[in-house]
Amino acid sequence: MPPLLEARGLTAGYGETNVLHGIDFAVEEGGVTALLGANGAGKTTTLRALCGMIRRGGEIAFAGQRIERAATEDIVRRGVGHVPDGRGTFMELTVEENLRLGAYTRRDRAGVAADIARLFDYFPRLRERLRQQAGTLSGGEQQMLAIARALLVRPRLLLLDEPSFGLAPLIVRDIFHILRRINTEERMSILVVEQNASLALDLADHAYLLETGRIVVSGTAAAIRQDEAVRRSYLGY
């Protein structure tokens, strides 16, 4: 079976400068793939390129269709949920309105209601904060809201940009535990970007290491964990 997402020779950048210099990677249906790398390696740029948020070149195939020329809105509508860098919270709107926006493309009201109820099982705190302005949420709560919003799109693939960023270790453990459940219980395919390599490798089955816009190591999570370069620079042992 072909992978759910496959990028070939992907380039991307801002203005005149190229940040990604032709990278190849794939996400298997139902799997979790991690994209690791230091700050500034191009991880966020990769996710933005996949969703058509910046200039990009090369080939991107998603669910058997080419999407490298599609607009962001259409890529989302085809089934890519993106939890962006910085979480993308609609600060001025309520938690409930943020969730309604997640389900904006859907017309199945009953399905949306059922999905929201199920998401409250994962993130009970969102239910308590429903009428609150989203800008008043803590960082962890905003991350949960961002994940819930992306899942309400009913994606086939969930992109996560540093879900651990700026959060206390306990909250991070919580969120990664929930991501694991979402992967197994909902059979959600995930592409997760992380600086925290050990965390991401625990969740992932495959991983790629990105350095200044090039993939330098790739393989199963178990193999990457044993890789010298990764161990020394990212796992610290």
């Binding site: 948020m53 962001t72 809105e73 989302v76 993308g88 926006l101 904006y104």
Partner: protein
């Protein structure tokens, strides 16, 4: 005392007009971070269209509705043709485009419809004086209609999914796209809606101030003062600001500076707000997003 009540009542009536135009300005500002200086001229053009329809024999309310629809389309077209290419342009060049649009519409109005001042019919009449005669039937009807329009706009943004998507597109276009919202379409809708609101204001004020190509220029200034007073990023603030400016303008005109200097009241308010509280009464302090 009677004079005072009268001044306040007509202040509220003109305030309703300023509130509408202020709301239109704020809607565009929230979505694009640009002030549409041509908002007033677009409304004047709409009012000319309405008058033409009425002279052609269309009943008043038919002409009103038709004009609103045409103005909506005009707003969508202006956004599509002029604003879309300007999306990421620096503020100063966008100011240039807005001023250019203002001048072009103004000249076009004069060229097509003439520069002479024209009277405009009011749809509101009464056999007997209303409310003790402090206010004219037109002032009552105009204020009532404006309040209905503003309430409908509020309900739309507050309770409909489309209204929510338009707010989301204005606050955070990147996140809105990631929710599947077609942000460009929302911008077009916003421009259409703003133009429609402006058109209603133009038609409502024309029976009072009469119609000529410069009808809205002073009104735009008052509306801008109202929007700044309430907070350029707060729709509710802009509406309240518009009413406050209307009342202040009338009171100052009657008791302090005289009617010739009324327009300076608007300028004074603008300067005072910019000096004392740039975010306005209801606005948030300006935060730049990265």
């Amino acid at each position: 005392m009677n004079g005072l009540l009268h001044q306040i009542a007509s202040g509220i009536a003109s305030g309703a007009i300023y509130a509408s135009v202020a709301l239109a300005l704020v809607m565009i500002y929230q979505a694009t971070h640009h002030v549409n200086f041509a908002q007033g001229e677009m409304a004047t053009l709409s009012t000319f269209v309405a008058l033409t329809l009425i002279h052609a024999g269309v009943p008043f309310w038919g002409a009103f509705v038709l004009t609103i629809l045409l103005s909506f389309a005009l707003g969508v077209v202006v956004e599509r043709i002029l604003m879309r290419p300007m999306m990421n342009a620096p503020v100063l060049s966008s100011v240039g485009v807005f001023i250019g649009l203002l001048l072009v519409i103004n000249a076009l109005d004069g060229w097509i419809f003439g520069f002479t001042i024209k009277s405009f019919p009011s749809p509101f009449h009464a056999a007997h004086p209303l409310l003790g005669g402090y206010v004219s039937p037109h002032e009552i009807g105009e204020t009532g209609l404006t309040v209905v329009v503003l309430t409908l706009v509020w309900l739309f943004f507050r309770y409909t999914t489309l209204g929510l998507a338009m707010r989301a597109a204005a606050y955070n276009p990147v996140s809105a796209r990631l929710c599947g919202v077609r942000v460009n379409r929302m911008l077009g809708l916003g421009w259409g809606l703003a133009a429609a609101i402006g058109a209603a204001a133009g038609i409502m004020v024309a029976p009072v101030v009469f119609l000529d190509p410069n009808m809205m220029s002073g009104i735009l200034l008052y509306a801008f003062a109202g929007a700044l007073l309430g907070g350029i990023d707060s729709p509710l603030g802009a509406v309240i600001g518009g009413f406050v400016v209307g009342v202040l303008e009338n009171l100052f005109g009657a008791y302090v500076v005289g009617t010739e200097l009324k327009l300076t009241v608007a300028l004074m308010i603008i300067v005072a707000v910019l000096l004392a509280r740039p975010a306005g009464l209801f606005g948030r302090a300006v935060q730049s997003r990265v």
